[in-house]
């Protein structure tokens, strides 16, 4: 497996203008900081897990990387090109190599198209001259890869279960043999029993096709198996980034520690003695984030300085980055 950087995200910021219900047309829109100063590197063959509560900007980060939402500042360097500076047609060339898988499996498939058409769409879009027989062959191929019977090509999405729909979505993402697949909560909408199947499928495919993955989830237990490194987001800010193992064995940020304590441990004796750290209160509004440290309103360790000074996101031990004044 080649160990070179394929994607570097640097200081990425995404703001949305939001107007509230009773606003007059001339009222100035408020800024919602959905993604604030996110940076990470991704090597070929790695899997980056991104974890955070719902609404903390995970999807927005993913969408900003593929230019589905405009970023306000920062860089997304893909094989040496800053994607954010490319125009539409230049970007199109790179779209072949970066694919996405979505949260709601059924909603991500057009109900009026059959499975064959859905899976073939990326291929037909980028290589419109491919002969029909080749398209059929490739569709069959990729359906077998994701564990779907290839005689189902003429079926429609509503005839499939959630897990099968997600496999169809994966097949569509694979048909162009991409380098990077961004999975935005691909299993959150599925039954627990099926979640593992889909995660395992992704891991097998990663091995087989030398894929790099970004895997988004709202809880740590799911990303555990698949990720090589894990980023924890809170209110659009990175709070911790480290190797998967380090995050689990020695989490350093109070937020991560609380998340880890909520992950069930299969061994009942450990599970019983485990101390659960509760996160109290609600997620603050991203329109009006707390001063200083974004987590201070819910942090048990918070001190006065936390309200005044924003903790820098920095490396505190080998490849382990944290944003906290009082990290462990």
């Amino acid at each position: 497996m080649s160990e070179h950087k394929i994607l570097q995200v640097q200081n990425l910021k995404v703001n949305f203008d939001v107007s509230s219900e009773g606003d007059m047309p001339w009222t100035k829109a408020k800024k919602l900081q959905a993604v604030n100063n996110v940076s990470f590197d991704l090597n070929s063959g790695e899997t980056l897990g991104i974890v955070g509560e719902s609404g903390c900007g995970k999807s927005t980060l993913a969408r900003a990387i593929v230019k589905m939402v405009p970023a306000d500042s920062g860089k997304v360097i893909w094989f040496g090109n800053d994607l954010l500076t490319l125009n539409k047609s230049e970007m199109r060339q790179h779209r072949k190599q970066i694919q996405m898988i979505f949260q709601d499996p059924l909603a991500s498939l057009n109900p009026r198209m059959n499975i064959g058409e859905i899976i073939a769409e990326p291929l037909r879009t980028h290589y419109p001259k491919t002969p029909e027989s080749d398209v059929k062959e490739r569709v069959k191929d990729v359906m077998n890869k994701v564990g779907l019977l290839d005689n189902l090509v003429n079926r429609y999405p509503h005839e499939f279960s959630g897990g099968q729909c997600q496999r169809i979505g994966i097949a569509r993402a694979l048909i162009l043999k991409p380098k990077l697949i961004i999975c935005d909560e691909p299993v959150s909408a599925l039954d627990v029993s099926i979640q593992a199947q889909v995660v395992n499928l992704l891991m097998d495919l990663q091995e087989e096709m030398d894929l790099t993955l970004i895997f988004i989830a709202h809880d740590l237990s799911i990303v555990k198996h698949i990720s090589t490194k894990i980023m924890v987001l809170y209110l659009g800010n990175m709070v911790e980034l480290a190797n998967s193992n380090d995050i689990y064995t020695k989490p350093r940020h109070p937020y991560t520690q609380a998340l880890i304590s909520a992950v069930p441990i299969p061994d009942p004796s450990i599970e019983k003695s485990k101390k659960l750290i509760l996160i109290e209160g609600d997620l603050p509004s991203p329109v009006d984030p707390p001063s200083g440290c974004v987590f201070r309103t819910r942090c048990q360790k918070a001190q006065d300085i936390c309200a005044i000074e924003k903790p820098e996101f920095k490396e505190v031990s080998n490849n382990h980055e944290v944003a906290c004044h009082f990290h462990d």
Partner: protein, 308 residues
């Protein structure tokens, strides 16, 4: 014995072929529509009425403008419905054959309904899809315009238009069609907004599918269902509006006629024991409207996304 076997084999063959071809939503909807008895029967009756308005004239003994001088002025005694006299539906007070007049009225009323609905669907879909797809300020302004137009009393404007620009079928088409696209545009806009945020649209955009292809391949096919339902409900609405206008004497002008105009004439002479002059056009009118509503209802149930 043999028959049973044949059925079994056929069933097995059906099952086999079924594993190859999926049921598209359209096919699904058709099956569900067929299961709705009222809607299916209505579809047949309506088809029969349309067919009748085209082939009916070949069986007519009297043309719609020819006056039967015997019946003129004494419709109550001579002009009743009868096979021998050739006036299957009787005559009107002027001695004109009601059978031919009803056919003529049916043609015109249905045409007004269909053409008016076509204009409304076309304008409304275009306007609504544009507004929804562009979003933001443009959408706001376009929808406020619709709100304003909607607050204007519809019938009043139509009557005013007919009085100012003269009474003609053309004016009636334009007036009804252009005023009834408002609801359509709102419905289509809502649906487009809804679709725009669906993940399959995002999936297509991420892959690099062009905006044009997204609209034609992903948005429009998903709008057709709701447009079809609304259009079938729009046709009777427009027919009703036209009949009302004609009933007021502002719509279709002599020698042309429509259901509304015929009903008006029939109602005016009801005192003279010529009830057929009212009942025949009224029956066509009522039955057709019921059919349209049942079909629209059936379509809505068949295409209802909640049932998928």
């Amino acid at each position: 014995m043999i028959a049973i076997n044949k059925n079994k084999i056929k069933e097995m063959a059906d099952n086999l072929s079924d594993s190859g071809t999926g049921r598209s939503l359209w096919k699904d909807a058709r099956i569900r529509f067929m299961q709705n008895k009222a809607a299916t029967v209505s579809l047949f009756i309506l088809a029969a009425i349309v067919l009748f308005s085209f082939i009916g004239p070949y069986f007519a003994v009297w043309s719609y403008e020819k006056i039967d001088w015997n019946a003129m002025g004494s419709a109550a005694r001579v002009g009743m419905p009868s096979i021998e006299s050739g006036h299957f539906f009787g005559t009107d007070d002027l001695g004109r054959d009601l059978y031919s007049r009803v056919i003529q009225g049916t043609q015109i009323s249905l045409m007004v309904g269909f053409l008016g609905a076509t204009v409304a669907v076309f304008v409304g879909t275009l306007y609504g899809a544009t507004s929804g797809y562009l979003g933001g300020k443009t959408d706001q302004i376009m929808m406020r315009i619709v709100d304003i137009l909607m607050s204007i009393p519809y019938m009043f404007v139509l009557i005013l238009l007919l009085v100012v620009f003269g009474r003609s079928i053309g004016m009636l088409f334009i007036g009804i069609g252009l005023l009834s696209w408002l609801d359509m545009s709102r419905i289509v806009r809502g649906q487009t907004l809804n679709l725009k945020n669906k993940e399959f649209i995002e999936a297509a955009r991420v892959t690099g599918v062009s905006d044009f292809k997204i609209i034609t391949r992903h948005i429009v096919p998903n709008l057709l269902g709701i447009v079809a339902v609304y259009a079938t409900l729009l046709v009777p609405g427009i027919i009703l509006a036209e009949s009302f206008i004609s009933f007021l004497g502002l719509g279709v002008q002599e020698p042309s006629t429509s259901w509304g105009a015929l009903i008006k004439e029939g109602a005016g002479t009801i005192r003279y024991d010529t009830e057929w002059q009212l009942l025949f056009p009224l029956a066509f009118f009522v039955v057709s409207l019921f059919c349209f509503y049942f079909i629209g209802d059936g379509l809505r149930d068949a295409l209802d996304p909640k049932d998928r």
